[in-house]
């Protein structure tokens, strides 16, 4: 896994499963690959294998449901159980319906910002935080590829206010303690012109969801 770059996880995902003992396959968003592998190692969940879809499907959420279905159909003959490591992720309930139809479980909640923080906590506080822009470890690392370039801000920084003029803060939800990521998050907040708030969330409900498998 260490040889797979974050850029590859963003654009290509991880098509060949890591681990292959035929028990549980996790089909995940590429943005969660490192976190899930860390959890597998930390908890010695040797019965789990991981494959990932490109993280940048989040730029076009309508692609997610069909891609998940295709992956389930492809891998189902080789595994006893499949788990979908996506939340709703902008699919408007379509992914939930598809998972129900396919008979596979998925992560609860609207998106990773919610389940990393803990869905209950996020739901209780999100109304007061609608002007917060969230980043996770992965998004801090892939900020340019995921946010800055697709929005054209590398070429047209004058658009910054049109995109982010209504935001009042940048919340960095840290899954691990890494001073290099903290520094990068700070640089991003300066680039966006938003004050930074760092919150250590750990793996939140992602760990809880996988622990049940």
């Amino acid at each position: 896994m260490s040889e797979v770059s974050d850029t590859t996880l963003t654009t290509d995902g991880l098509s060949a499963p890591i681990g292959n003992d035929g028990r549980v396959l996790i089909i995940a968003c590429g943005a969660l690959a490192r976190e899930i592998l860390a959890l597998i190692e930390m908890n010695k969940w040797t019965h789990m294998s991981l494959t990932c879809l490109p993280a940048n499907y989040h730029l076009y959420p309508d692609k997610i449901t069909a891609a998940v279905e295709e992956a389930v159909v492809k891998h189902r003959p080789n595994y006893a159980e499949i788990f979908i490591a996506y939340a709703d992720c902008g699919t408007g309930g379509l992914l939930f319906e598809k998972c129900k139809e396919l008979g596979v479980q998925m992560i609860q909640g609207p998106h990773c910002y919610s389940f990393f923080e803990g869905n209950d906590v996020f739901a209780a506080t999100s109304e007061d935080e609608i002007t917060a822009f969230y980043l996770t470890d992965f998004l801090v690392k892939q900020f340019d590829a995921f946010v800055w370039k697709p929005m054209g801000l590398d070429r047209h920084p004058e658009l910054l206010d049109m995109y982010f003029g209504n935001y009042t803060k940048l919340v960095y939800q840290a899954q691990i303690n890494d001073p290099a990521l903290d520094a990068k998050a700070l640089a991003i907040s300066e680039k966006m012109g938003l004050p930074l708030e760092r919150r250590f969330t750990g793996y939140g409900d992602l760990e809880t969801a996988l622990a049940d498998l």
Partner: protein, 232 residues
């Protein structure tokens, strides 16, 4: 050495300048658009003609290429920014010169949502098409929509949302309008990236509008139907 020759806008004929403005809008060149608007006004053009023949037509072309995947959001925003520059010059003049009015609209992003790029585009294009638009901004609770509708002579309510978590709030607004017996007094248009036609129907909106150009066309159709009904 570049083959490109610098274009002196003031030396172009009206027809050439109008076409050049379409190109400049497409390329998001705000300064050039503002200069061209002043040139046409200086040549005696009516503000409404500058608006429709140069700016709105240019944005129509931008809209088509956005729909067809040739242009993307950043380019559309640059074009919109250029058009906004032209509109700022024209707006006070349009009121003075009695430009045709198509109808009145209230628009706003729903409660819990601060995203306004799409809403702002719709507002601008609706104004360009001759609608008077009251923009309520972002994060609007139902009271904001209802109070505004009750306070003026409006024909259309527009609601926008970018998040799957906030788009259901549109139904709260429509249900409240039904409860108050005012739903049928207005055309309700909804839009936003995660919405679709099915969602629009399910919540009781009159139409889902995929983009700003569709919003304008849909609004015009409804206003035309309304006028036909009144005339019958």
């Amino acid at each position: 050495m570049s083959d490109e020759q610098e274009i002196i806008l003031s030396e172009l004929s009206d027809e050439e300048l109008t076409l050049q403005m379409h190109d400049d809008l497409y390329d998001g060149m705000k300064d050039e658009i503002e200069e061209s608007v002043h040139i046409l006004l200086g040549r005696g053009w009516m503000p409404y003609d500058v608006l429709t023949k140069a700016l709105v037509e240019g944005m129509r072309i931008v809209g088509i290429d956005f729909r067809d995947g040739i242009l993307f959001v950043p380019e559309v925003l640059l074009a919109a920014n250029a058009m906004k520059g032209g509109m700022l010059i024209l707006k006070p003049l349009l009121a003075e010169t009695g430009a045709p009015r198509m109808g009145n609209m209230v628009i706003g992003t729903v409660k819990g949502d601060i995203h306004d790029i799409g809403k702002n585009l719709v507002t601008m294009m609706m104004e360009g098409a001759g609608f008077e638009v009251k923009d309520l901004g972002i994060n609007n609770p139902v009271e904001n929509y209802i109070d505004e509708l009750e306070s003026g002579e409006y024909d259309i309510l527009g609601m926008s949302a970018l998040l799957t978590t906030t788009m259901p709030y549109m139904k709260v607004v429509i249900d409240t309008m039904v409860e108050k017996g005012m739903r049928d007094d207005y055309v309700v248009l909804v839009g936003g990236a995660p919405l679709n036609e099915e969602f629009g129907k399910a919540i009781g909106a009159d139409a889902y509008c995929r983009d700003a150009a569709v919003a304008v066309e849909t609004a015009k159709e409804y206003m035309s139907k309304k006028h036909n009904q009144l005339g019958a």
